[in-house]
Symmetry: C2
Subunit: 570 residues, 2 copies
Amino acid sequence: MRTSQLYLNTLKEAPSEAELTSHKLMVRAGLIKKLGSGLYTWMPLGMRVLRKVEEIVRDEMNAAGAQEMLMPTIQPAELWQETGRWALFGPQMLKIKDRHERDFCFGPTHEEVITDIARSELRSYKQLPVNMYQVQVKFRDEIRPRFGVMRAREFVMKDAYSFDADFAGLQVSYDKMYTAYSNIFTRLGLKFRAVAADTGAIGGDGSHEFQVLADAGEDILAYAPDSDYAANVELAEALAPVTPRAAAAEALRDIDTPKQTTCEAVAELMGIGIERTVKLIALVNNDGKFIVALLRGDHSLNEVKLGKVSGVGEFRFATEDEIRARFNCPPGFLGPVGIDADILVVADRSVAVMSDFVCGANKPKFHIAGVNFGRDLPEPNAVADIRNVVSGDPSPDGKGKLELCRGIEVGHIFQLRTKYSEAMNATFVGEDGQPKFFEMGCYGIGVSRIVAAAIEQNYDERGIIFTQAMAPFAIAVVAVGYHRSEAVKAAADQLYADLKAVGVDVLLDDRNERPGSMFADMELIGIPHRITIGDKGLADGMVEYVARAGGEMQKVALADAVSFARKQLG
Amino acid sequence: MRTSQLYLNTLKEAPSEAELTSHKLMVRAGLIKKLGSGLYTWMPLGMRVLRKVEEIVRDEMNAAGAQEMLMPTIQPAELWQETGRWALFGPQMLKIKDRHERDFCFGPTHEEVITDIARSELRSYKQLPVNMYQVQVKFRDEIRPRFGVMRAREFVMKDAYSFDADFAGLQVSYDKMYTAYSNIFTRLGLKFRAVAADTGAIGGDGSHEFQVLADAGEDILAYAPDSDYAANVELAEALAPVTPRAAAAEALRDIDTPKQTTCEAVAELMGIGIERTVKLIALVNNDGKFIVALLRGDHSLNEVKLGKVSGVGEFRFATEDEIRARFNCPPGFLGPVGIDADILVVADRSVAVMSDFVCGANKPKFHIAGVNFGRDLPEPNAVADIRNVVSGDPSPDGKGKLELCRGIEVGHIFQLRTKYSEAMNATFVGEDGQPKFFEMGCYGIGVSRIVAAAIEQNYDERGIIFTQAMAPFAIAVVAVGYHRSEAVKAAADQLYADLKAVGVDVLLDDRNERPGSMFADMELIGIPHRITIGDKGLADGMVEYVARAGGEMQKVALADAVSFARKQLG
């Protein structure tokens, strides 16, 4: 395509409301345009990117044996009432009444509809497995939509649903989707990790999130650079230390800490490493029982992990009044020595192997040092993994050490099991002639969100850096002086035609603009490769090549430009 | 693809509510499945058809220089209030309140949104012309949705919008779309006509409907088989007769017609052709003025044409009481002779050239014959084309005679002119530096409706007959005995692989079903070509070919099957 034929409208300034880089750049590059809160139009340039993503998604879904279909966006309330989600989904669901005052919603997801289809269509185990997907606009009425298409109200999603006769079948279907998703994000050229995830409100058992690694992500991931291990930081296991507890070597002694109410401050005062301190976190569970969690000073409590320790259950942080009443001591100086025996003491695994440690003295303005389990206080009631992993922890798969990074969720796969088939009485006749509930999986990709996530991962001060698979055009040919130099026009038109002839998705910038403005536009919109044709180079039969991602400008003979470009495009 | 991998679920019976053939066949073939009133899921087999149509539409739109984009389905009420259509659109518009109680609608069309985009994006004549389109789900809350996807509430539409600096530019944009639409329906393999259309509620001037010719159509078209002339029957011009009025030859005389209240009955009684009779239709216009329209007995009144005659304007049919009061005669015996001079008499052109005609006598139970203008009654106040054309009328373009047929509207192109740009104050700066309103066009295609319309045009008692461009698969290879004959399995697998290798969209029916059932399925779902492989033929190295559209079964050497199939596929 030629820029003279392309609707291209770049902006110098981003809207003031845009906080995220991807939001700013997508608006500035003219990929999207805001219609209302959380509502965006995909302009022609953005649509090219969106459709490239869509087609890769389709291609890999088809290759994995999933079949495309299209369900209505508008769904009858009755189906949602069967699963109870009509009430549960909350105000994110856009509820609608039609002209006959019947209740509908704009589908935020399609488990109910597909289960309704399955229960009338799939009658026998012989028809299984089945996996169907659609690429469709969804609506979720976010209370504060922001970040452009990253968290819009209306967005494009690929949602797939699998139906299997048994759990083993579901696992096969699930693994195929895991592989398909990995292929999709690999083909899109993104750095990503599949992380084991909490299944949340949608229910079910196994689940993985596919996260694009980017600093702007809302989720923090723990991953092993040396393997494919990755998990949400809340779910990553902190392995038990391999070194056993050393014998007590120091005497118990008071440390005067008049203003030191944190482990950091105490360690600094004493000139020791913070990893030699222990902090106490006071909690009250739903039965009203007091619980103290013991963590190393440099670690943080993982509430999900603690909740799973026997005898803990749901809990909350103790109030200052509760702490003073129970410990006879203000927060900041609490410690495990000498506390009531009916308090449940849960020590993190890393605390359980400590000796001669430092902790609060349970009296105002004092800590104690040389503390040892067994000698100065009883062994903890429970020892468990109750902390968040930190960078440098060993990877749970035994392969190297963990790193932390941020991620943007762009895909999510779930084993729904029989949650929906039971709720909606969706059965098939099994091999034994008996009715059975479908084993279901659901598999989502935020197609429009991928574009924003990719930009968060790949940009610089000049704009977007698209990977080749997603770029609106693979290569830009910038013709400097197209409207005044016959030689430039002839060379540019010929190169454009030659590249198109070999199937290259090329944009010829044939505008009558200053070179700097043309370069800036091609850089802002993120075209990965650029060839510049100008009179000066042409005098020697040369053109210039530069990669958007960086690297030196190279001079290339015009006669070799097509083969050179194809080589760059891989 | 193999049927063992394809979700295929054909039904013996159509749902009882299905009236149209296409609705019955689409459900029976498993192309669509009903979710609720006017809400259909496109099942995998139907989705293949829908996507083939979509891609041809995209391809031709892109070739015509239109650029794909995607606007939100959910639109803010404010934009519709600017044009007044928030109130005017009526209950077909699905109105929605979001969680903040703000008003939105599920877009039934996108003129308001695109005009809002244009007024902020397109600032100069240098940016024009622009034509943008989207392929998107629309919702129109039909009061009685029926006919399956032919008149569903939620449907897939391609809508395009052009912006030009002046009317000449709009005409160029419009002509490009006219050509693109003609290309689309030609490539889809459909018999269609572009007909000049009334612009209706959307406003504007020039407009064409693209109609697929099929007996089930709701619209009646007049077309010339010898040219590309076509029009809605209401808009087709009835040319003036070329033969002048003959001189009066008969005397005026009463005819006793005690029970004959119609031209048909009078002509039959008299033993003359109905084309020698004249009927009078009594009307009252908005000013309360009486009007009589004179038409040949075999013609019907065209109210739109009559309304355009000077002095007529908007009108209604006179009531029986008004007729009796004014003519002193009951309906059924009215005639133009002797009526009050202040009644406006409008004669159709075909009546104006009649002589010695028969009409009502203006007295009960009598008609009169030998009636002549000038002698028995004054010349009419106006002579105009006020009738609907009939089969055999000369074509307005002078090329042969008109035929009537039914059509299904699948596309519609409009010259909106400045209706929306004026209502929304959407201007650009013209070449003279002055602000100007955009000259707009809009161009719709009912993508999902095309599938139903194509089936209405092409089916037989065995099911759908898809054209090759739309078929879910181009060719079916039916392997009879795939699960019991090694030879059949080997030959079928090889032919399947060979056809796929040369890019043929082939379905291998590898099911363990009776041959009759496999043939019936392939015929029902409309696959245009079929090759059957069975042990009997293979013994002689032969397979069988048959075209879905008809024709004899042919024996083909297995060794030649690929080249034979490619030849059939064209």
